[in-house]
């Protein structure tokens, strides 16, 4: 069996489009995968769908497809993406419309469904609180299973050129084309583990080609401005070479691959996926050429039989008001400002569910306790944040930050204020056999004469 070439066209919903186009044009790809769903994106999408039954998928779907489809169709590159979010069928219809507009005939587009388990999640207990999902009442807005590769492989086996799903495990978007192409048995745990590693390394796009990596003077990245997205050349045994298109910016090195190997991993021996428990503990990473890194030695064990369920719920409103103090005695003035906000809210009888203040530039990020005696910075930005029951309360909070202009300490400037609803995520497990997935195939028509 030949080597399969699979690329990453996006690693999050807001990812850059130009590197995906470049990869589609020059990567000589068999598959191009767009991973665009963060933890709560699907909950936000579900809310959009409640307002409009034709909405609820990635807002950049149309732009991405208009940019990439003409190239991928010409090159015979097939696309897999989770840009369907809360509404894969509507997303697939939009892809069909874009393809028809572009004059791409007989393109097959599959919508994968079944990850939405909102109607059955009620009795399941949430890991974070121990309470059932149904106990959240009308605050509960979404529940989606991180599904595995089965429906994606089935759609590819049926000839889909584009597969649009909602929530699926991120590595599964990459593992599915490998299983489809090589015909790996679903109990070949070693190969499934290796394919999972390929997916894990690629799923954050530029994070393996020099993004999220540069540290000037220590870890310099060449031509970061023109960073290229990654591709893997995967062999039949599941081992792979990670690389990128020649001439693009960034770098693929042992160091970039090792950082990404451990990104969002806990125990490297037990990376739990819907179709396999992958073992990355004995992976070897070898630089075999410029921007070419061989990864091998991943393994796997039988899947747990459960899917992780991501449960989205409304969790009040977040207020965030900020103001800057600089120069002489800035920290003392910034702390006084925060105290004033707290006291004025208390005097007005405004109850906050939770609040905190930070001095940005001084203590907004956890720091080494040994760094306590750090010098006063030139400037600090006082940020007052609160979780509030209603948007009205959250607005009263940021009103008090803005009020610091005239009624606060000397020399406060540059107030900004934001109030937004908090969509939080909790999780639970559901037996995978209880989650019924499938796909629906759409097809573009012949050109109208």
């Amino acid at each position: 069996m030949s080597v399969l070439r699979i690329g990453a066209g996006a690693g999050f919903s807001g990812d850059r489009i130009a590197p995906a186009v470049e990869l589609a044009e020059k990567g000589n790809l068999d598959f191009l995968v767009f991973e665009c769903l963060a933890e709560r994106t699907i909950a936000l999408a579900q809310q959009a769908r409640l307002k409009d039954p034709a909405a609820g998928f990635d807002p950049m779907l149309e732009r991405r497809m208009r940019a990439v489809l003409p190239i991928s169709a010409r090159n015979g590159t097939r696309i897999v993406s989770n840009m369907g979010a809360a509404n894969p069928l509507a997303a697939a219809r939009l892809v069909r419309k874009v393809a028809q507009d572009l004059g791409l005939h007989h393109l097959k587009i599959a919508a994968v469904t079944g990850d939405d388990v909102l109607n059955v999640v009620g009795p399941f207990k949430l890991d974070e609180t121990g309470a059932t999902a149904s106990s959240m009442g009308d605050r509960l807005i979404s529940a989606n299973a991180y599904i595995g590769i089965a429906p994606i492989v089935a759609a590819l086996d049926a000839g889909a050129d584009v597969v649009i799903c909602g929530r699926a495990s991120d590595p599964a978007l990459f593992l599915a084309p490998l299983v489809h192409h090589f015909g790996w048995p679903m109990d070949d745990w070693t190969r499934l583990g290796r394919g999972t590693l390929v997916g894990h390394l690629l799923e954050c796009s530029a994070q393996v080609t020099g993004g999220y990596f540069a540290d000037p003077g220590v870890k310099d990245v060449p031509d970061l401005a023109r960073i290229g997205f990654p591709l893997a050349e995967v062999a039949e045994d599941g081992n792979a070479v990670i690389t990128k298109v020649a001439g693009t910016g960034g770098c693929v090195t042992r160091a970039t691959c090792t950082e990404q190997l451990l990104y969002e991993i806990h125990d490297p021996e037990n990376y739990i996926q819907p179709d396999v428990v992958a073992d990355f503990s004995r992976v070897s990473i070898e630089q075999i050429g410029p921007d070419r890194v061989a990864v091998s030695g991943a393994d796997g064990r039988a899947a747990t039989g459960y899917f992780k369920i991501s449960v989205g719920y409304r969790d009040g409103w977040k207020a965030d008001g900020q103001i800057t103090y600089a120069g002489a005695n800035n920290i003392a003035r910034a702390k006084l400002a925060a105290d004033l906000v707290l006291q004025r809210l208390a005097d007005a009888g405004i109850a906050l569910t939770e609040s905190r203040y930070d001095l940005i530039g001084y203590d907004s990020v956890p720091r080494a306790v040994t760094a306590e005696n750090m010098a006063q910075p030139h400037e600090v930005r006082m940020r007052f944040a609160a979780r509030c029951r209603t948007s009205e309360i959250a607005n009263q909070v940021v009103d008090e930050v803005e009020g610091l202009y005239l009624c606060g300490p000397a020399g406060g400037g540059g107030v900004t204020r934001s109030v937004r609803e908090i969509i939080a995520i909790a999780s639970t497990l559901m037996p995978s056999k209880d989650v019924q997935t499938s796909f629906e195939m759409l097809e573009t028509q012949d050109a109208v004469a």
Binding site: L261, Y263, D315, E354, R387
Partner: protein, 99 residues
């Protein structure tokens, strides 16, 4: 010296748990990192900002280790009121550790 002189790393987040990789630039420094960058030292470095356990996993063939910090993200990215709710900054903070 600072750990930053001989190692690099990356932060990831899942729920309220942060993970930080620490990777030797040069294999000859691995033994020193192994000896000096322990679970206890990392827990002490962050102090009360990490509410839960700190666990270290080793990948000696890559001269890499992975720290898992429970309760490090004030509830996790979707709930936290923190400015850097993902804890993206934490690896750089750990690389400030004196060894």
């Amino acid at each position: 010296m600072q750990l930053h002189e001989i190692a690099h790393g990356r932060t990831g987040d899942k729920g309220d748990t942060s993970n930080i990789s620490i990777i030797a630039f040069d294999p000859k420094d691995w033994a020193r990192i192994l000896r000096d960058v322990t679970e206890e030292k990392v827990a002490a470095h962050f102090g009360p900002d990490v509410a839960g356990d700190v666990t270290r996993y080793l990948l000696p063939q890559l001269q890499a280790m992975n720290f898992v910090l429970k309760g490090a993200l004030t509830g996790g990215v979707t709930r936290s009121l923190a400015l850097d709710a993902h804890g993206k900054c934490l690896a750089s903070v750990l690389l400030e550790m004196e060894i």
